[in-house]
Symmetry: C2
Subunit: 308 residues, 2 copies
């Protein structure tokens, strides 16, 4: 494939940027891939595994790049943009991969140089692992990569970025930033906080030993711990920067939970059964939409799962 | 392998009983496998796939059996035991596979005939699928199967049942019924109710379309929907029969959630970061205990996952 960008600069070298480097190299989508991470240890690891041309400063990494990808925690986007702004090539496109969009736009736009294009983005892909070694080329395959372009976004710059994203195997969609932040509060941010909370409750409980919780985690709790093992810095920033939508969803969640708790306390089996029957239908929709498989998931113990 | 029981009768022919039938037949653990399900459609399916010798009544299925497995929803255990009691072979062992133990003991014991042994059990294994077609021989491999024997349980009958369970690939542990019910409230029952609730919230939200929730479920929410797709009747009974422990854990959960919500509202990033760092350690413990794999889980789209 012909390279879509002459030089792509990755600022932040974690799971997402690392996977982009693998995917772009495999498909020949970038003439050069340069990169920078704030931590010297991360830069050393990235050099060791040959992830990209690693520079000690973000300024050096972005020099000459026609695409710059901000792949740092949401709270670091503004300062990073401020740092690289004087070093950007004329007409460069800047995108980000943050899980929250409005606050990133608010933080980045004041620093955007004349003639540069900022196109906010969010790949709905990831694992519970983090760091440069966690990346792999197929991470984005068949996943959504949402873009929240601004009203005056250059259509050509947008189309070019979309062609890079689809060439890495992802599907793109466009929406407004506030709507993105609400949708993600429902599908990702609130579920993560809930999973973190439930794992914390288990950790505090004194009458049940930690060993018991761990040994007998097979049904339900195990999935929560996987979610709750995600990168703490990334998630701290997500909650602080999508505060309103997350608190709104958590408020609704608590209301709903109280209704079900009351049904349990009152012994209202019919209400519980009706509720659980409705939620089953949503699951079927997700399988039909190709966002998960219908194969049973019952432990993921290596070798024990005929469906894997 | 020599058969451990002359005849095993399965009452209820869902995921667990079906998987037991496959596992016992593969390893030659039972001379005969008989069974009964209340629904004629389930009996027809079980006959069609040759799951076991299917009888139209539970009384016929248990005739001559030296092991009877009650594999029905927790709320049906008492009535089923009452129905089969007059037809049990002298000295038969009865076990169950319910997710709650104290209420099953309370419901079953009054009907237990002189000379029969009741040994309550709970395999920590399952998938989000249900019904006789959902079973497979390796479901129990490397999973825990908890037993909550009563103070006067016959040691020989207990050892024999344990040898059947381990021959199906599971690991056994013994504990008191009330402790079991508390441990499972933490590791399974509360997480399930929480997952059902979060999926219900998404379903109600009018500003976000159902299609968006389904399409963009990749991060976090997807795992909740898998949990929330479990059998509604089984789970209704679990909550109604483990009411106190579940409400206790949900109360602690709500408290803890309010603390984190407050940290978000107040912008206390340090508290969030500390909390998320602690929950990560629990995840590592679960992987080390062999209850999950460390392989990244990022969508389970067929063919897209190099780790599967």
């Amino acid at each position: 494939m012909t390279a879509i960008y002459r030089q792509v600069a990755l600022i932040g070298l974690g799971l997402i940027a690392g996977s982009m480097a693998h995917a772009m190299r495999e498909a020949g989508l970038a003439g050069r891939i340069t990169g920078h991470a704030r931590s010297a240890a991360t830069r050393d690891t990235a050099r060791e595994i040959g992830l990209c041309e690693v520079f000690d400063t973000a300024a050096e990494a972005v020099r000459g790049a026609d695409l710059v990808v901000l792949a740092v925690p949401v709270g670091a986007m503004g300062p990073v943009m401020e740092e690289i702004a004087p070093h950007l090539a004329p007409g460069a496109t800047i995108t980000d991969v943050g899980s929250v969009k409005q606050s990133v736009i608010d933080a980045v736009m004041p620093h955007l140089p004349e003639g540069a294009h900022f196109i906010p983005g969010h790949p709905l892909a990831g694992t519970e692992h983090s760091g440069p070694r966690a990346g792999f080329a197929t991470l984005f395959r068949n996943r959504w990569w949402l873009l929240t372009p601004l009203p005056d976004t250059d259509p050509q710059a947008l189309a070019r970025l979309e062609s890079l994203i689809t060439a890495m195997g992802a599907k793109t969609d466009r929406m407004g930033a506030p709507h993105h932040d609400l949708v993600l509060a429902v599908t990702s941010h609130a579920p993560h906080l809930i999973a973190y909370t439930m794992v914390g409750v288990a950790d505090h409980l004194r009458r049940v030993s930690g060993e018991e919780v761990i040994q007998y985690s097979a049904a339900g709790f195990r999935d929560f711990t996987r979610i709750a093992a995600s990168d703490p810095t990334m998630w701290r920033d997500v909650f602080l920067h999508n505060k309103e939508a997350t608190l709104d969803i958590l408020g609704r969640f608590t209301e709903e939970l109280f209704v079900l708790q009351r049904a349990i306390r009152m012994g209202d089996g019919q209400q519980l059964h009706d509720y659980f029957t409705r939620t089953r239908a949503i699951r079927r929709g997700i399988i039909e939409a190709g966002q998960d498989t219908g194969a049973p998931d019952f432990g993921r113990t290596p070798g024990a799962n005929p469906a894997e």
